[in-house]
């Protein structure tokens, strides 16, 4: 199937949300010289060995001022795996920004691998799960952003909190102007799950002020990741990309509403997490028949 409006919308919204949270809230932590430990992962090609960090979702957007975007790792004392534009990739390895790890093309499981990176304070996930399934089922492990002794690599693929889960709820078109222009309204709910009230309040405050922001409509082909969750072009700059696409026809946030799970309700949860909601109403005026 070829790309549809909805595909572009979810792609654009996720990239915008990520950049907005990281820049407005400086919602990331820099780590240097973090030891990446080997663990087995039967989903990856046998030519690679996974060396994982204790954190998921490293920052990949170089327009976030102050964030450390890794370009390879250090094996022993040798920096390795810088992006090579001649081969359109890293030689002998790939970085997996989503799972916070390096995939090294080797059979050696005992390399001394270290990396410098920034980790997001909140992981971001798109989901089709209902709010009750997300919050009540208690299926997410906490990947604390506060370092403690004995931290090992975190399991790949599983979703962990603190995180923001996005769900596209409803979408509708209504006539807007002569000539067939329509107003497409899509509601997206962001369910924010945090370890503490301070962080939750921060996210809600940032996005409560996002009303009337415009979001560049970015096609999926411009998504920064390849099949390893590594950067396709070696770097990614949201600001530049959004400026290139921020022409007439952008999305905008028509309305936004934030709320928190009351303390009384929260106490009935079996896990001690803080939950909030950001309900976005995203609009675009478009000619859907063209």
């Amino acid at each position: 199937m070829i790309e549809q409006y909805h595909h572009k919308l979810t792609n654009s919204f996720m990239l915008w949300f990520d950049n907005y949270l990281l820049t407005k809230g400086q919602a990331y932590t820099n780590h240097t010289g973090v030891k990446l430990e080997h663990y087995s992962d039967d989903r990856i090609d046998s030519a690679y060995k996974a060396y994982g960090s204790p954190y998921k979702q490293w920052v990949f957007d170089s327009s976030v001022s102050g964030a450390v975007i890794p370009d390879g790792v250090t094996v022993g004392n040798t920096p390795t795996g810088s992006y090579n534009s001649l081969v359109s990739g890293r030689e002998g390895m790939a970085l997996d920004f989503d799972n916070g790890r390096a995939l090294v093309e080797t059979s050696n499981e005992n390399y001394e691998v270290t990396a410098d990176f920034s980790v997001k304070d909140f992981n971001l996930y798109f989901t089709n799960e209902t709010e009750e399934d997300l919050i009540v089922e208690n299926k997410y492990t906490i990947n604390s952003r506060v370092p403690s002794a004995g931290f090992g690599p975190i399991e790949p693929y599983d979703q962990v909190i603190p995180a923001v889960f996005f769900n596209t709820n409803t979408s509708n078109n209504k006539g807007f102007a002569f000539g067939g222009m329509e107003e497409t309204t899509t509601t997206i709910t962001a369910t924010v799950m945090s370890e503490d009230s301070y962080m939750l309040d921060g996210v809600l405050s940032i996005f409560n002020d996002s009303k009337n922001e415009s979001i560049a409509l970015i096609p999926i082909s411009e998504h920064p990741f390849n099949e390893f969750n590594d950067l396709k072009e070696g770097s990614f700059n949201y600001k530049d990309l959004s400026e290139a696409h921020n022409k007439c026809g952008s999305l905008y946030i028509n309305n936004v509403n934030t709320s928190k799970l009351t303390d009384r309700a929260r106490k009935s949860l079996s896990n001690n997490i803080f939950v909030g909601f950001v309900d976005f109403e995203i609009q675009q005026h478009r000619f859907r028949h063209q």
Binding site: E132, I135, V136, S259, A265, L269, F277
Partner: protein, 192 residues
Amino acid sequence: MIKIPKSVIKELERKSQKTKKADYTKTFKKNFDKTKEEMIEEFLSDPVTVELLSGPSGSNISGTLNGNSNLFAFIGFQSGDNPTEPILSLLKNTSYKDAGESRKGRKFSVIMPTTDDIFSVTPMPWATGRSWAKGIETGISGLGFLLNKSTSSSRSGVAIQARSKVRSGKFNNRPYISALLKKYKKKFKEIR
């Protein structure tokens, strides 16, 4: 021919306008009261309102839950809550004021609640920044219901028994406050 003094003519005009104004006001008030009463009546007879007014033991006559459980328990209200009361109060406060003369008589402006006014007085019991009245139109998750269920004594009293039934279905949105206000805004405008 008798010449009528200018002062008398002026006085006659003044008195006639007063009478006209009184007539216009009386007619408008009569029609306004009737429309307002209709609006409140329609709100109170809406299946969603009726279902919520029947409390935790009501049945799902609004069809929003495919007949399973009821809205009161699903949203997560406490037994004894009267969630529709703030809406009723706002609707009852609908009023009008004389806005002066117009070419055809007099103008009146009607002051009625907006959807935002209604949404701001109808908080979800478990997330007070969200409106249950808006949720009827856009969708409500089963979170309130499950949170209610997971407390040792359910606040709605009968929520626990219906858990499995509710989880197997989904919430069906339906028009509620926005449609009502839109309809009566138009009706108030049509009053002559």
